[in-house]
């Protein structure tokens, strides 16, 4: 028979989101919390992010990834109500909140939870997902797995690298590889703009004279045993490669930083509805999903620019789960968000009426001097870029509940050529 344990709250994932949510829930009085983490250590991806730049928003000081994670680990230590289970993998989550786990220490265990917080984070898009033609040699790494090999395991994974994708991880890895003596020949970006934070373009590429090729992509991978070179070509306005204008770059390593995908296979098992725009669950102002008692926060809900936002949002989810367990939330009236001009996604997707709600908004294309409209509220945005989150806190007076929805849009901006 399966070993079944009844608990108040199960938090799935011990990265920044899960840690912050568990701490907040404990502070809000939840009695029995189980925090499940599949790795041997807590912190998710933070321990391998040894660069600085973390904590500026949340702690008002600059920290490295391990330091940032450590702050939450200390908080967890002070909360004996939180049972931390590392090297424990969640196998299934049912809509009625049964969470089945497996571990070497305890084998198969089933938790019957009164509430669940999903905090599984995201994974990287692999080579196959973007269908790069060519051979299948060793030396093709996603940026995050390369970062793990380098920073956690201490291995030299290559000598000459090309990086595809100028998201933040790609940019940070360009600098990191350079510092370890690996020659980074180029960072290639399919879009006409970088998908990373501007500060990372400056500090990770420009400061190290690493060329950034905008509107370029890899059209073929060459090499039998190990990567020998990649073919690169500019792309046209429809993002199609102009192979005749292409060139080859010799390298032994190709690093892919081509997007993050929220890991929602378990959420789907639990019957949670996903938003195609974010790849994460549809959530309300309390980060409750479409399944009652199941909450979602952090990169499993939507991919964040900075971990500080993950912590802030996860604390909301943790407190909300506590309120839910006390019977204080449920049956709230909410309005759906409607994405207007130049809006790719908005989280939360459902705004609870009367609740001030911080929104994370992502634009479709870059523009300047636009006005952001949220319901009846608005604010000026000098620079809008798909790589940077647009923040706006909806106030209760921005919303007119008779309208049945909250429109979010950018208006009047100037689009650069």
């Amino acid at each position: 028979m399966l070993n079944t344990k009844a608990v108040d709250l199960v938090v799935v994932g011990g990265g920044p989101a899960g840690m912050a949510a568990a701490v907040a829930a404990a502070e809000a009085g939840v009695e029995e919390i189980v925090l499940l983490e599949r790795q041997a250590k807590l912190g998710g991806i933070l321990p391998q992010c040894i660069h600085n730049g973390f904590g500026l928003r949340y702690f008002k000081e600059e920290l490295t990834g391990p330091e940032y994670a450590y702050r939450f680990m200390l908080e967890l230590k002070k909360k004996p109500r939180i049972q931390v289970k590392t090297e424990t993998m969640v196998v299934t989550i049912t809509p009625d909140r049964q969470v089945v786990t497996t571990s070497a220490a305890e084998g198969l265990v089933c938790y019957q939870a009164r509430a669940v917080i999903l905090a599984m984070g995201c994974r990287e898009r692999p080579r196959g997902a973007i269908n790069i033609p060519g051979t299948r040699p060793a030396g093709i790494y996603t940026a995050g797995s390369l970062q793990y090999l380098l920073n956690i395991e201490g291995f030299l994974p290559g000598r000459t690298a090309v990086i595809l994708g100028s998201g933040d991880i790609g940019l940070i890895m360009a600098r990191r590889l350079t510092l370890e003596g690996i020659r980074v020949r180029a960072v290639l970006e399919l879009m006409p703009y970088s998908n990373g934070l501007n500060r990372n373009v400056v500090q990770c590429l420009e400061d190290f004279n690493i060329p950034l090729y905008l509107s370029h992509t890899v059209t073929a991978i060459h090499g039998q045993g190990r990567v020998e070179k990649v073919s690169v070509a500019p792309v046209d306005a429809d993002l199609q490669p102009l192979v005749e204008k292409g060139f080859d770059l010799a390298c032994d390593t190709l690093v892919l930083s081509v997007g993050l995908i929220p890991e929602n296979e378990l959420s789907l098992q639990a019957g949670v509805e996903l938003d195609p725009a974010t790849g994460g669950p549809v959530v309300d102002s309390f980060y409750q999903t479409t399944v009652e008692g199941i909450f979602a926060c952090g990169n499993v809900a939507h991919v964040h620019d900075v971990v500080d936002d993950v912590s802030a949002e996860s604390a909301i989810a943790g407190r909300a789960a506590a309120a839910y367990l006390r019977g204080e939330i449920g049956g709230n009236r909410w309005l759906p968000v409607k994405a207007g001009r130049n809006i790719r996604s908005v989280v939360p997707q459902r705004i609870v009426v009367g609740q001030a709600t911080p929104l994370y908004i992502r634009a479709r294309f870059p523009e300047k001097n636009a006005q952001l409209n949220v319901g009846h509220g608005h604010s000026k945005r000098r620079i809008v870029s798909p790589g940077e989150t647009i923040y706006y806190t909806v106030k209760p007076e921005d919303i007119c509940s008779q309208e049945g929805f909250v429109r979010v849009g950018l208006e009047g901006g100037k689009v650069d050529d």
Partner: protein, 487 residues
């Protein structure tokens, strides 16, 4: 240098060589299988479509027809004995027009002439009922319920592991460099120690012509026909139940939609003659396959793609398999030009070759203690109760390494003990790294596990053999730290 003395040497660790060595391991024989790659199934068989063909396509009277129909019949029992991933899911050949319906009728006749059972023509409505995700444009189909699917490398591993358990020797990383005929057998030079064999079976796939030429037999002329395949996320499981074929063209069975035993959907393959043995995939291949597959299943989305690969079929000039003693020596048997439906036919090819060996005069006596069974632990396929018991017995099965495919450290350790020495060897034996993240999370862990289990430093761990090492050693700082610790 010592010499390996055997009765039968099988050259080539693809599905044909594997099926044969397993069949031969039923007899009191000293056997060796040599494979030039670092692992069995790493050549053509690795990239096989994994279809157990019913036999409707082959021309009556050919070895292809005879052996694939027999092979297809052998699969259910073989799978039960050897616990490889196989499913009799049935096949459907679809027609897109009235003219094609006529062609389907001819195909039914063809199949019946080959002895394929239970074939039936079905209407558009029936087709929609049994495969609701097929295009509404299709006007009818031919149902072949005996067709199946198999994980091709799993089949090869199962066959070779069972042969080894029954006393056969397996030598990987062993390339045959020259063969000299002697009074009562052959002297075979390899990149390792030489082998003396009374009888040789040439199952060297693409290299069958070269191996035959080593004894002066220049009759085997082969060329490579490349096929690209594209694999979609397991979340599409059930999109089609049966393997879906269009009507065949002159050179191939066309672009298919294949449900894999593991629950993925695969589309392909292309079929183009190539001069060099390069395994790249191409934009042209994708542009040929994807639109063709969409004509069968219109809801396929490129965003659900997880990987692509290609393989090279060894194609002979006669249009049929070449399975016969060489013109040079009755004790040198060629099994060459084993293109599609070679995987289906492999168990029957093995039986057929055993008969040829009997004819050659080599005495064959049945073993008293042949064990036909092989089993492996596949955590993912067990029910929770069985999983719990397994983890209780051995906690390594509770430690999940590959999250996408739910593969445990215990299974990875088993895979090394079963013969894996590389990342791909682990992947093909366990599925770790084959899921939607394609090894993003588990690769570093598997490098560690392989390194520990094989007793090799991590920088010697490769993707699929020498030249494909994954790491270039330690970082400067870590090296310095280690040296300090040693001092």
């Amino acid at each position: 240098m010592s010499i390996t003395e055997v009765d039968v040497l099988v050259i080539g660790g693809g599905v044909v060589g594997a099926a044969l060595i397993r069949e031969l391991s039923r007899y009191e024989l000293d056997l060796v299988l040599v494979e030039k790659e670092v692992d069995v199934s790493f050549g053509t068989s690795k990239a096989n479509s994994g279809i157990v063909h019913s036999g409707v396509h082959d021309r009556p009277g050919t070895l292809k027809a005879q052996l694939s129909v027999r092979g297809c019949q052998l699969f259910p029992e073989l799978a039960a004995e050897l616990d490889f991933l196989y499913k009799q899911n049935g096949a459907v050949v679809v027609a897109r027009s009235r003219e094609e319906l006529v062609e389907l009728e001819k195909l039914v006749e063809n199949g019946r002439a080959n002895g394929v059972k239970d074939l039936s023509l079905i209407s558009r409505e029936e087709l929609r009922r049994i495969e609701p995700n097929l295009s509404a444009e299709l006007v009818g189909g031919l149902l072949a319920p005996s067709g199946g699917i198999v994980v091709p490398f799993d089949l090869v591993f199962a066959l070779t592991e069972n042969a080894v358990a029954n006393g056969a020797k397996l030598m990987v990383n062993t390339e045959v460099l020259g063969i000299k005929e002697e009074k009562d057998g052959f002297f075979v030079r390899t990149n390792h120690r030489p082998i003396r064999a009374k009888l040789i079976v040439n199952a060297a796939g693409l290299y069958g012509g070269e191996v035959a030429a080593m004894i002066g037999d220049h009759s085997i002329q082969l060329y490579a026909r490349k096929g690209e395949e594209y694999l979609f996320d397991r979340k599409l499981e059930g999109l089609v139940q049966r393997t879906v074929f269009p009507l065949p063209s002159k050179v191939s069975k066309g672009i298919l939609v294949i449900p894999t035993v593991d629950g993925n959907i695969m589309i392909g393959p292309t079929a183009h003659r190539v001069e060099d043995y390069d395994l790249s995939t191409s934009l042209a291949g994708w542009n040929e396959i994807f639109p063709a597959a969409r004509k069968l299943v219109p809801t396929l989305q490129p965003t659900d793609l997880i990987t692509a690969f290609s393989g090279l079929r060894a194609v002979g000039t006669s249009g049929d398999f070449i399975i016969a003693p060489s013109i040079i020596s009755p004790r040198f048997i060629n099994a060459a030009g084993i293109e599609s439906p070679g995987l289906t036919a492999a168990p029957a090819i093995a039986e057929y070759i055993v008969e040829l060996i009997k004819d050659s005069g080599l005495p064959l006596a049945r073993k008293q203690k042949f064990n036909p069974r092989r089993t492996v632990v596949r955590l993912r396929d067990l029910d929770p109760q069985a999983q719990a018991e397994l983890m209780q017995k051995d906690p390594a099965y509770g430690q999940i390494v590959c999250r996408c495919e739910m593969v445990s450290a215990g299974e990875i350790r088993d895979a090394v003990r079963r013969g894996a020495t590389t990342l791909d060897g682990i992947k093909l034996r366990t599925r770790s790294g084959m899921g939607r993240c394609q090894g993003g999370f588990c690769t570093p862990k598997i490098i560690r596990l392989l390194s520990n289990e094989l007793g090799l430093p991590p920088e010697q761990i490769s993707k699929n053999g020498p030249g494909s090492e994954l790491l270039f050693g330690r970082l400067r700082g870590d090296r310095a730290k280690e040296e300090k610790q040693h001092a």
